[in-house]
């Protein structure tokens, strides 16, 4: 890399960082699709129809703590998930758009397998899904300062039985958490209530689970009342050396703390609600 931007005494790492940020491709206002594939047109269409309906009428989402999401810098949003992630992700995105004072687009980290699914993969990308490659997340969080939503619960082949709903599985995806640390962005835990009931995986029902290991789900979510609680952001700049990976133990500890935090809040919210459907 040319040293043209180095001035005496300055840290080359920091200079390189600044240079990388300022060389990002400029905005072309004539384009309505971003380089990541998000389409303004499709987004607006889905937002004004389906999302609007789900958010206001069907799931009647209630939001707490949305001001915990930063207005300017990037942040990694970490949420629990139930059967179908897409409804949760859509509702979190919609909540930001409706309630936050500086609404910004939300990117959702998706498994690479999604980009192989015809039609659905394409639609997800147009709505803001991004393959969860570390380079992608780093660029979004660090270089571009955008919001990224991840669901770090371990993926399992067998679906969670209904009886253990809201019991979070272990957060296996430490590498995603470490990305936030490397990118020096805060982590905002999000507790999502209602998705377990709204989008149950039918095969989690006992007898069906024994019959088939396939994940069956409903097309439209059931009208359970949704509650989103954005928790206090966890600052990551204290951890580890700048730009380097913190030790495994610190990472693991942080991940466990996050999980415990969301779990606590979930149980609190479950205890506080009177009815699954009416809230």
């Amino acid at each position: 890399m040319a040293d043209s931007s180095r001035t005496d005494g300055s840290d080359p790492g920091v200079t390189a960082e600044l240079t990388r940020r300022e060389h990002l491709p400029g905005l072309e206002p004539e384009r309505q699709i971003t380089d990541w594939g998000r389409s303004e047109r499709v987004d607006r269409l889905v937002d004004s129809t389906l999302s609007h309906f789900l958010y206001h009428y069907w799931l009647r989402v209630e939001v707490e703590g949305v001001e915990n999401v930063p207005s300017q810098t990037g942040a990694l949003l970490v949420a629990n998930r139930a059967g179908q992630v897409r409804v949760d992700a859509a509702m979190v995105g919609k909540a930001l758009r409706e309630e936050h004072r500086m609404p910004r687009p939300l990117h959702v980290a998706a498994p690479p397998a999604l980009s192989d699914v015809p039609g659905l993969g394409m639609l997800a990308t147009k709505l803001g899904a991004v393959t969860e490659h570390p380079a992608n997340l780093h660029r979004l969080l660090h270089d571009e300062g955008q919001l990224v939503l991840v669901f770090p619960e371990a993926r399992q082949d067998r679906v969670k039985p209904l009886s253990s709903r809201y019991r979070l599985r272990s957060f296996d995806r430490l590498e995603i958490i470490s990305l936030a640390i490397q990118a020096r962005v805060p982590i905002v835990p999000v507790a999502v209530l209602g998705s377990e009931e709204a989008t149950p995986a039918l095969s989690s029902w006992g007898p069906l689970a024994r019959l088939t290991p396939l994940r069956l789900g409903l097309r439209l979510p059931l009208p359970a009342r949704f509650r989103l609680r954005f928790l206090q952001p966890v600052r990551t700049d204290r951890l580890g050396e700048s730009g380097e990976l913190p030790p495994w133990s610190e990472l693991s500890e942080l991940t466990q703390d996050l999980r415990a935090l969301i779990q606590e809040n979930l149980y609190e919210m479950v205890a506080a609600r009177r009815s699954v459907w009416l809230g």
Binding site: H23, S115, A135
Partner: protein, 401 residues
Amino acid sequence: MGVASVWGGRLAAQLEQDPALETIVGIDTSDPRHELERTEFVRTESDPSLIARIIRAAELDTIIDTTAVRDTQPDRGLRMDGTAMRELLAAAESAGVRKLVIKSSAEYYGSGRDAPAFFTEDMSAGEEPRSRAGRDLVEVEQAVADFAGHHPELVVTVLRCALPVGSALRTPHLSLLGLPAVPAILGFDPRWQFVHEDDVVGALAHAAAVDMAGAYNVAADGVLALSEVAGLLGKPLLPVLPPWGTLFAAARMRRLGLPVPLGLLRELRYGRGLDNRRLKTTGYTLRYTSREAILKLLAQQRLRPLLERGEDEYRFESEVEAFLRHSPSVELPGGPASRLGPPGAGGYSALQENELLAVIPSLETEAMQRLREHEAAGPARPAVLQEIDHQLELRDSFGSG
């Protein structure tokens, strides 16, 4: 090297504008297709020992190779693969070259579902490349990387170019976009990144001028969805290929006459984006964004039926070129002594009288004498002859003291 190709020819033309470059030598197995003024053309099979001799004889310090990626069909000129590249590198080493610039392609990174949205230069080819061209490219880059590792004192630059867009180019992508409707795979809208041909040539010239070691992505700002590209070109997007069994269906369609390029199937599915920031940090400014490049393509597509006929293509005649450059009868402004200097804008006869008068005092004596003979034999303008005589007198008087 590869001066007969689109890239080599245009690059040579651009390099000629730079007066700091003394000598430009173009090597290829077939004749150049661009009109060049001071580039010396050597036609040779790519025998490395011959190339080494040329380099040593002309005391060249930089080799620019544009043959690794063919962007024109049918194939013309030097063909580069791993073995050929190693031979060239050996020649470069023995000839004592200081810099090496290789034009490569973003195909090096491949295309796939696990790929990042923007490839950075440190990412290697994700998986085994499927096509022959892809494999050759990986071999070539590997050879170059090995060479650079062994010779840290040399400046080795590799430019990985995104999908090039330009009037003279014929790539599978461009022919796909040239169809009346753009074919696509049902259910997929891949994102493609382009680069305008002017920027490719510009980047090559920049790499020749500036020391930038390592690999650089040469790509325009903006990764466009195929539907977006089709929209810009004013064509419909036709999802004729099924998402499963695509290769089979595509082969079938080719047999039926639909020109679907088979090598593109992976890119029609997943696309590819590049991170172009490293090139920008070297000080090169890209002139066109991907969107602008496609709009230019649109303009060209509209003009093509008009230009197809009646355009005289430049034909390289070696004897004519040799005459123009080296014959003493051909007068360049400034006389034959300045033949190796900055390029002139035409012959002596193109100069007006007053321009000649301005130039005469700066000529060398023998050049001035020759000019006088020529002038006396030809136009015999009295003002010019007078001026020359006057100058010669002055010089005589100074010389004799």
